[in-house]
Structure formats: C-alpha cells, structure tokens
Symmetry: none
Subunit: 208 residues, 4 copies
C-alpha cells in the first residue's frame, strides 16, 4: 500500500465534493473552482491527484461503468457461443440471468449510476445509456436477422422499443427503490415487452 492515509483523505474529499457538485449541476455547469474551494484545498492539490476536470469525473464513474460493461459483455459472450441462427433466443435469457448482478452493482453505486445517466454531458460518458442501447441493439438486429431471415420486427421499430426499454431501466435505476423492488419492476417490464411484442407480431402477421 503506497498511499498514506492523509493522501487518501485529500483525494477522497476532492472526490466527494466533485460528486456533490456534478450531481447537483451536471458536469459542464459544475465549477471546478467551487468544487476545490469547498474542500479547503487548493488548485494545486487538485491537479496533483487529477489531470483535469474530466479525469475526476472519470475517477468517480469509471469503475461503475466498467462493471456495467463487464456484465453486458458477459451476457454477449454467453449467447455468442450458440449458432448464429439460435442466438436471438438466448439473448433474452442471458440478459435476464444477469439482471440481479447488474442491479446489485447499481444498488451499490447509486450516485455513480446517476452521474452516468444524468450528469455526464460534456464528458466522454455523454449519452451513456444511449450508447449502451445502440451496442445492444445492433447485436440484437443481427441476431434477429440470422434467426428469421427477415425479422418480424423491422429495425426501426426495434430501435424504438430498445429506447423505451433502456429509458425504463434508467428510470428504475434512478428511482431509489430497493434491490428487490428494482428486480421486480425490471421483471414486470420484461413481461410487458414479451406479451406486447407477441401481440404486435400477431397483429402484423394477420394484416398480411
């Protein structure tokens, strides 16, 4: 352990102050001057620990973001082992299987989740949820095409549905609910989507 206790104190105070300001005003509108002043330290101290305003944001959310991405990549490596034409069916169950893990992570890092989802404008995490969605979506599109030839749901409708799904996940994450409540609600919307999409496909098929 190289860092002394005092070290950690300073760093931690800076992180805490930054977190509070970013949560209140967002990354861009938050003033680094204010953040630093509030700790009682000086600019020099800040720049000893962090190379820039963005870096301290990164220091706050980086781990959580990495955790999220790790879980999502585990998901995809799970359904990735199946044959191209079957992946679509395994995607959902892989996702559901990892939900508890994801919820645990977000529960343990509520502030960081909020920073990522609503305070990141001006950082490289800008539109974080949107980009997660897009990654997920393009994989989903691919898998659907391989499974059904022409997908029963066109790419745009799928896009829209994914937007809604991710928005709801975001909403749940930011709701302040307990772990179990979160899981329950996430399962609920899964049900809604299952029944809903089945209904939609039925409808579309009848029309033709």
């Amino acid at each position: 352990m190289e860092r002394t206790k005092k070290d950690e104190d300073t760093r931690k105070k800076l992180l805490d102050s930054a977190k509070a300001h970013f949560l209140e005003h967002g990354f861009r509108a938050a003033s680094l001057n204010q953040i630093i002043k509030e700790t009682g330290f000086t600019k020099g101290a800040f720049y000893f620990y962090f190379r820039s305003k963005e870096e301290i944001f990164d220091a706050l959310v980086g781990e959580t973001a990495a955790g999220i991405e790790k879980i999502l990549s585990e998901e995809s490596s799970e359904w990735g082992v199946y044959d191209r034409s079957e992946r679509a069916f395994h995607m959902v169950s892989a996702h559901l299987g990892h939900l508890p893990e994801l919820v645990d992570l977000l529960q343990a890092n509520k502030d960081e989740a909020r920073l990522l989802l609503t305070c990141a404008e001006g950082t490289r995490y800008e539109n974080y949820l949107g980009r997660l969605k897009e990654a997920d979506e393009s994989a989903g599109n691919e898998n659907l095409k391989n499974a059904f030839g022409e997908s029963p749901i066109d790419a745009y409708t799928y896009d829209v549905l994914m937007s809604g799904y991710y928005a709801m996940i975001g909403q749940i994450v930011l709701s302040g609910a307990s772990r179990d409540e979160m899981l329950q609600r996430m399962t609920d919307i899964q049900h809604v989507y299952e029944s809903g999409i089945a209904g939609l496909i039925r409808e579309k098929t009848l029309k033709d």
Copy 2:
C-alpha cells in the same frame, strides 16, 4: 408587409446560426459570440433583435412548444367532459385521436423538436419531455384511481411505463422518419403497450 427584406435577412441569419449551434452543442455550451460572429453581424445587431441568449432559443422553439401544449390540452379537455370514473377509458382514445395532428406538427418542425428534446439544458425548456410526461402521468394516475379504486398497476410501474412511452415517442420524433412512418411506429408501440399491459395484469392476477 411590415418588415423589409433586409430586416428579415439579419434576424433570420441570427436564428439560423443559433439553431445550428444549439443543435450541435446544446444551449449552454453554445457560444453566443460564435453564433453572432458566423453571421457577420455584431453583438449590437443581435441585441437589437433579441433581449438575451435565452430569448433567441425561445424564438426558435416557442411556437412549436406552444403547438404541442395546445394539442395536449385539447386531449385532456376531451376526456375531461366524461364522468370521473370513465375518464381513464377515454384518455387513450383521445390521445390516439390527436396523434396525427401532433405528428404533423413535429414533422413540420423537426429541428425545433430536437432543440426542445435534446438541446434545452439551461433554458426554461429544460427536461421538456420529462415534464410533459409528469403532467400526463399525474392525470393518468388520478383517472386510474377513479376508475378502478385501487389501480391494477401500481403508481411506480405506471411511472416506469410512462417513461418508456415518452422516450419512445421522443425517439420516433427524432428519427427522421416520414409522417406516415412516424404514425405507424406510434401505433405499433400503442399495440405493444396494450397487449403488454394486458399480459402484465393477467400475470399479476394469477399470482394472487
């Protein structure tokens, strides 16, 4: 014709430049200096036409926002004439009835819609979609309670579903689709929600 051509030119150039910058960087991060410099006019010229940075944003989106709000208020005055216990059932059809009108408005004002939904941080339109959702949601909650005593869907789940719905509407609006495609997709997600919510209620009821 009160305004001379030259008049309109300057004002329009300022509006165009502002629109471009707001779309690219958002209201807060956009630089008024930059906006003005690009038109070839001076700061004084800007302040002849607009009282402030926020006012030019308002000049860009105000009409569109008013149009949206007018449509939504027409919706609610439609279901408002029914008995308290029946309003919930008329809400959806009133909403559907006005969708074409809404879509037409948004189609005709794509840039303005995007400004409202994604570039308004720092103006009084901040979180515009969220506030529309909240207004809609509290009315919806009220109506559900009056229709079913205890609503079949708890308030939080309803909240989450509304977030998803509004996110999807936003996504569709911003998608660059044609009028008819937009309407089609909006109808599609209506179907998904109908079937989906029916499924969710079935599920919940069976459990008990």
Copy 3:
C-alpha cells in the same frame, strides 16, 4: 412659432423621461436606452432633438443654471461699482438683497436645482455648487485683502466657511421647504455667520 404641437410633445416626453431617470440614478448611471424606451419613441427621435446624452441634460438644467449665474453676476456688478477698499462691505448686502430672487428661481425649478446639485456627475455641471463657491470665494478673498490689508480671516478658513455656507444653501434648496421657509432659513444662517465670524475675529484678536 415654428414648432408644431406634436413636436413639442415628443421633445417634452423625452425631457420628462430623462429628468425622471437622471433624478433617480444620476446622469452617468442613467441609461439613455431606458430613457428613450419609456417614451415609446425611438433612438432616431431622440437624436433628432438632442445631439447627445449630455445635451439633453443641458436642455434640462441650462436655463436654471443661467438664471442662477445671472443673479450672481448681478450681485457682483452691484458691489463692483464701489471703491476696491469698500467692496467687501457691500458684498454681503448685495448677496442678501438678491436672495429672494434666487429663492424664487429655485422654488420654480426644484427638479432642475436637484439635478444640478446632486445628479450632474459626468456632465459639465459636475461639482456645480463647488464651482460657484470658488468663484464667489476668490472675489471675496480679493475684496477682504483690499479692505483690511491682511485679512482678519486667513484664506483657508474663509474657504472652509464658504464650503459650509454653500453646503447649507444647497441643503435648504433641496429641503422641499416653501419659499418663505427657505428665505427664513437662509436669513438664519446669515445671522449665525455674522455673529460667528465676529466671535472668531474677537477671539483671534485677543490672542495676539
């Protein structure tokens, strides 16, 4: 009469608005933009009647200032006819003789008097009272020297006393009192100065 009635209306409205703003904020802090906006006319209209911000101030106070200066110059031309060595004794009575006239002028132009005394910073009337005092003072010094050889009151003390005198005159003018009250108070301070200066000279003489 060259000016039409409408003419006078516009000009008068501009003058009134300017007067109100100058009285409230002083010349420098008053905003020409505001002054003009309040009349409902435009900058062009203003600059048709007045060449500059300062000129409208001048238009407001010029006549009153000229009136004051005329009275003061009449005073001095009155004692000026006497022999050098006797002028000092006629100065005071000339001053007293013209007081009613001066008071009448100031009573009839209260606002203008206030503009001159307390709102002129930034114009050529800046420190108006001070400069009146100085003119009066240098004449007084001259006359005293001619009357007594070495004046019983040294120049600096005379300077100080004059400052007090003019400050009191200013105070009375700005007090909002009636014509007769003003005259009464001015006479009162004349008495104070007479007795007071006599006392001072007695004191000084005894010491030597």
Copy 4:
C-alpha cells in the same frame, strides 16, 4: 512573515492602480480593465486577490472607515453615560476631545479619506459623510429635546447647520493641510458655530 515579497508586490500594484483610478474618475466611472492593464497583470490575477471591483474599493478604504466609526462610537459612549437631560452639553466636549485622534487618522490616510468622501458612488460607502451626519444629527436632536423640552433650534435649522458643519469638516480633511492646521481650522469653526448659534438664539428670543 507569511506573504512572500512577490505576493505583496502584485496585490500592492493592483491596489495602487485602483486607488489612482478611483481618485481620478470615481468608483463607478473607473474601468477595472484599465486598472488591471496598467499593472501589467491579467484579469485572473486581479480576481485571485479580490472577489470583485467593489471588494478592492473596500480593501482600500475599509480600515479607514472602521477607524472613523470607532472614534465616533467612542464619542457617543462617552456622553452616553450622563443623564438624559445633560447629554447635550457633553456631546460637544466629547466631540472636541476626540478631534485630534480623528485628525491623526485622516492625516495618515488622506487618499482613503478622499476616496470615502468623493469617489464612493456605486459602493456601499456612497454618501458616507451624509450618513455620518445623519447619525450624529438624530442623536443631537434627541439630546437637545431632552435638555430643553422644546429645542431652541428647530430640527430643520439644526439639520442645515449640521450639513454645513460636516461639509466644512470634509473640506478641511480634503484640503491637504498639516495636522496642526487641520486642528486649528476645526477649532475655528467650532468657535464660529458657538458664537453664531448663541447669536441666533438671542435674535430668536428677542423677536418673541
């Protein structure tokens, strides 16, 4: 010694430049840009030492103002110990007793005194002398009433005389005279006021 020499240099240069500009143009008309440019430093440097334009004015005059107020409050706590009906008689001697102290302070801070008296428009020291006068005056009025029942000098005349007195004190302070000259002149005007007011009361009494 906490501050390095370089430290003091910058701060002092800024203060000096500010003092010069405030003395020449007054607080409001002085340009902060100009003040800073003249030191060779940048805006950032200024705002490292001072929070605002007003704060540097405060830094210049604050101490002197506090000193003046301390002396005046000592005066009033001196006559404050006497019985209500006797305070009027002790006011003057308390005032005279503290004059040397006051003069010493002002002699040692001539520039600051001038800033306070003639350059403070736009700061919280605006009309500084006037407010000192008013405080003094209301105490004086109270004491006179308690001493004489109905005061021999009506409130308005007293007000006028106080205006003159404070104007003269101001004049003396700004005159550039030496300590002893200042004291001499202040004593002189005390004599003038004593004899003068006595004369005025005599006059008034005879009339009735």
